[in-house]
Symmetry: C2
Subunit: 668 residues, 2 copies
């Protein structure tokens, strides 16, 4: 093995599911030297995860692929609750919206994972040639590649230039990489279920003793394990990385079918509690497909389930019983599986901030809330730009510790939510108010509605850190030049009242504004593509008044011309943007505004794309952005948004808040 | 030459520009055996046409590619008028919206023709495998192919099964197909300009006497000449197909540059009239590009212009003079050309309704109004489905005569508009009210605003015909079965008051409704993809009331189960859809409505996608569709929409209007 070829890479991603592909997409956009390997021969073609939450669609949209999902997917707008009537027959109890209105341009949508993976691959390919490295090799998924060893040189972990991780990769043959229980003719829907065991051991056993085993050694700065619930990466990190949690007695089947039924709400998301046959969730999907989550009360015995007892016939019969007296048949089944509900989460998400775990590799739960793929992608979305900016030496390594801080919090919230929701949904409906072991249908329906802020992903609220300045906390936000860096020095504190609806730690909301130079209406998220840049949104008020212009000028100038924020060398790490409240016709972009709001380039002329008015558009109404963001036009505000769209800092217009930064930058 | 290989095809398209590709897209969607040939080696990469009007975007959207154009293009929202001040300096006179509000989901947009051609090719490829012919060969553009002869067997013209057109095609070598004046290093921007001659003669001359000339003979049912202003097809049809019209003295240059300028409105569409240096139109485009249309007053002499005098330096100097005192420079020029304004239109658009001319092949005019590509595509959009449905024997051949009727009318309107607009824009601004040879700037600006209905394409209003039933006219709409066909028999007359804002001959507008089965809001255009089907929109009123349900049932039943409209064999030629006005929660789709509104399929179950409520959506407001379409909820209405989205018939709910159709269909 001494002769294995050895190479270096900045980032090695293990696993090409939703988390791995999201990580790869970030790396491709930031131009980071990266490899992504996957043990399987191919991507997912049907079944698996299918729910896209609002926040996930916003994230995908920031990479330019949200619209593809939005167009092909089925949108879930309404939910029906069906409960047993006094005679035990299911009846529609009530209808409710499936989303909170006005929070996002997107609502919950469903489309199978395979389509989304294809969109990711297209988007990664479209990142090349990369402007920063036109001759760089395009990132492609290397399939049929399995890691066999991983070592971290902890002594070198804090060295910016080191490649402290050594991974051995084995290149599998087609035969080795094909799961023995490969999905074919619906004979076994369970091969990727949590009822199935891990097949890596089997894969490795097959090549044991073969003379032509092909291996290589990769030295990496960072490794990200996105390799699912059976994560090889997690196991390689040792026993203290094991996930902790519990398995319930609840066993559920899943079927994707084109239903033939007289049940009236089959194209609506439905929560059906039958009197005594268990519960059923209906998720209408694209192309006439409907996903059914079917409680299997008969196999719900204590302990681990014997998977040999579970067949698709048995699952479908359970569905028919729950939905009776309505008839349910099907001619076409696209996919099926079964799983036992459990909630587990890892205690550690990283080793030395060099090896990271993301997605199912570090938290698992039941799929019914449509969270799995979303939380997995969000893990990688949180981590990707941090690794990218650290690798490029734009940000210091210490920001990497925010990954575990932020995402472990979300994983724990997810587990807690899933724990509560699973029990309410899998429980037997209460017969009457004296039935103490039954679940109150009112309580269930209330819990479901309360959960929208969480399940939509819009409620995420990260804790204070170097990247999130809350009023009571210090923040090192945006401070990266070594000469001005002092551990723990309070660079800036958020003053929440300046933009009352921009909460540090939460995602920056999106409202419509009108572009100064051409009157085009934009929702602000469209001006924040995921390109690794911080955004400094200046709310300047009525800048047709000289006093307001005076006040606004200095807000951004600390950033102008300093090496730290590289405004002088595009693409800058900080994008300075202005939303004013003056009548648009009374502002002349070049005449009235500081250069920072229309940077000049000798070949491309002025940049006209930084200034917007909060006003009436010709055809799309008034976005009322100042109201939406909670900014008083008479006072203005400055909001710093991280590259992942989360608010880092909210403060007032005026120099005093930027004192530290200014003196730092002026001194340089 | 006797040994030339011979083959048959239903449709042969000559020319793969916007009109040819639109035709090819229709044919691919309808599964018609088609070939498309083009003499050039490649598609357009820069310059050329770039304006997309609202109606064109709606049409592209009906094929699923409107959003791609919409996303990549620059949107023109506002227009600025710059006129000479009293001292002769240009000043911004006023700003105005560039579109009419509320007419369309789209506004004017610009993107270069090459991108759009790429979207067409993707959309054509995505039509395969075609459901009606899964093993059919995908339609691909055959480049470097030039027709050399065309004959029509007029005696066989009315035979449905004949291939009466014989075309010889020559396959060119790479060298022959490459224009000698190929655009390179901007050395000659004029090679596709109307100042340049035709190069086909040169192409053919090159292969003269060569022994290895490769030709083939194609027998076609239909030939569509989409081969531009120098149309070979038009010339092959003989002298009576020559275009008639006039050439003006006005010569204009065009440049696509990234401008470096202190002119404040360079990202706005601008109409600049200088005092004595001519006029300039600014069209801001994608990727920081700006298109300048620059009047060349110095070369504006009588007669044909000497093209050797026109260079990009000379054009740019003219622009600098017009825009002074503002400075204008550029580092990057993407494309340039020049043209002499003229308006010409063919007297005949077809030979025997077998050979058709579309686009620039049959009408030319100045490009500044952004009409050329739009009217060309609309020609082909009007023709494609007609040829398709006739080829499939769904509709009788006589509907083909509506092509010339409808599109010649539009071409004449276009010429008239262009004539007027060109003179107003190229004319010298009036110095004062006594200056009789000058153009009044108020008149110009008024004419511009009045033109939106025309230039947007939304004002198109086709004349009465077999496909458009106006109140005073007979219509044979939808009557195709031979046994019930009587020339000129009045099948149905429109009763306009039933849906006051649906005008027969005009495009069916689009309003938001809420889908009955799942509460999803849709704009009705999204339920009308270009798939060759007629749509029968039934406005049923408040169908929670039994009386309204009674009244609505028969409206569609004449179509149900008859061979003529093939509702029994999907995909039907008539898509029956219902917009009701009842509270959505009070309607149960399967329980309350006739089968025609939820057709059943043994394998796919019921179709839930035909019924919509005009009501409040959860997140997107109320579309007020009944108001928009002008339907009285107490009376209801039926609107028949052609496969190209134009209203064919407006009538009342109730049997009497369908009398002829019903007796016909019941008799079959």
């Amino acid at each position: 093995m001494a002769s294995n070829p050895t190479s270096e890479v900045d980032v090695l991603i293990i696993g090409a599911g939703p988390a791995g592909l999201m990580m790869a997409l970030w790396m491709s956009r930031l131009g980071i030297k990266t490899r992504i390997v996957d043990k399987r021969t191919d991507k997912v073609f049907s079944g698996q995860a299918d729910g896209f939450q609002s926040r996930t669609l916003e994230i995908l949209d920031s990479f330019g692929i949200g619209e593809r999902v939005w167009k092909e997917s089925n949108h879930l707008i309404e939910v029906s609750f069906w409960n047993p009537d006094s005679d035990g027959t299911i009846k529609r109890h009530r209808r409710a919206p499936d989303n909170i209105s006005g929070m996002s341009r997107f609502t919950e949508a469903v489309l199978h994972q395979g389509r989304m993976e294809a969109f990711f691959l297209d988007a990664i390919a479209a990142s090349y040639p990369h402007p920063a490295d036109p001759s760089g090799t395009p990132l492609k998924v290397e399939r049929m590649v399995l890691p066999t060893s991983l070592e971290v040189d902890e002594a070198a972990a804090e060295d910016d230039d080191a490649h402290p991780i050594t991974v051995t990769l084995r290149h599998l043959t087609e035969e080795e990489a094909t799961p023995t229980q490969k999905l074919s003719n619906l004979s076994d829907g369970l091969f990727r279920s949590n009822l199935a065991g891990d097949d890596v051991g089997k894969m490795l056993a097959q090549s044991k003793g073969r003379a032509d085993v092909r291996e290589e050694v990769v030295k990496a700065k960072y490794v990200v394990g996105c390799d699912g619930a059976h994560s090889w990466t997690r196991k390689a990190l040792g026993p203290k990385y094991e996930m902790k949690g519990e398995m319930t007695d609840f066993v559920w089947g899943v079927m994707d079918i084109v239903p033939i039924t007289d049940f009236p709400d089959v194209r609506t998301r439905c929560m059906i509690h039958s009197a005594s046959n268990g519960s059923l969730m209906i998720i209408p999907r694209e192309n006439k497909l409907v996903r059914l989550y079917i409680q299997l009360t008969e196999v719900s015995t204590g302990g681990r389930v014997d998977r040999s007892t579970i067949t698709h016939e048995m699952i479908f019969k359970a569905a028919q019983k729950i939905i009776a007296p309505y008839k349910l048949e099907y001619h076409y089944c696209d996919w099926w599986t079964a799983y036992q509900i459990g909630q587990r989460v890892g205690q550690h998400f990283t080793k030395c901030d060099r090896v990271f775990l993301a997605g199912d590799a570090v938290h698992t739960h039941s799929p019914k809330a449509g969270q799995g793929m979303n939380v997995s992608m969000s893990d990688a979305y949180n981590l990707g730009w941090k690794i990218g900016l650290v690798t490029k030496k734009i940000m210091p390594r210490k920001i990497l510790s925010t990954y575990e801080l932020e995402r472990k919090q979300i994983a724990n919230e997810l587990i807690e939510f899933d724990h509560k929701f699973s029990r309410l949904f899998s429980g037997r409906p209460q017969k009457d108010i004296l039935d103490e072991t039954g679940v109150s249908m009112d309580e269930f329906s209330k819990a479901f509605n309360m959960s929208h802020m969480f399940t939509s992903g819009l409620g995420v609220n990260y804790s204070p850190s170097a990247l999130v300045s809350k009023p009571s906390e210090k923040a090192l936000l945006l401070e990266s030049d070594k000469e001005v860096q002092h551990e723990g020095s309070p660079v800036a504190k958020s003053k929440l009242s300046a933009a009352a609806h921009c909460k540090p730690g939460m995602r920056f909301p999106s409202y419509q504004v009108v572009e100064q130079c051409d009157a085009r209406p934009w929702t602000l998220h469209h001006k924040m593509p995921s390109d690794g840049r911080f955004r400094l949104w200046v709310f300047g008020g009525d800048i047709s008044q000289p006093a307001a212009r005076e006040r606004m000028g200095p807000a951004a100038t600390p950033f102008a011309g300093t090496a730290r924020f590289r405004l002088d060398r595009p693409p800058s790490v900080v994008d300075v943007l202005l939303v004013h409240r003056a009548p648009r016709g009374e502002v002349e972009l070049l005449r009235d505004l500081h250069d920072v709001y229309h940077p000049f380039d000798a070949k491309l002329g002025w940049d006209y794309d930084k200034v917007f008015a909060d006003g009436e558009s010709y055809h799309e109404g008034h976005g009322r952005a100042y109201e939406g963001y909670g900014v008083d036009p008479d006072k203005g505000a400055v909001v710093v948004v991280r590259p992942d769209g989360y608010v880092g800092l909210v403060t007032e217009l005026g120099e005093e808040n930027w004192g530290r930064l200014r003196s730092g930058s002026r001194g340089s």
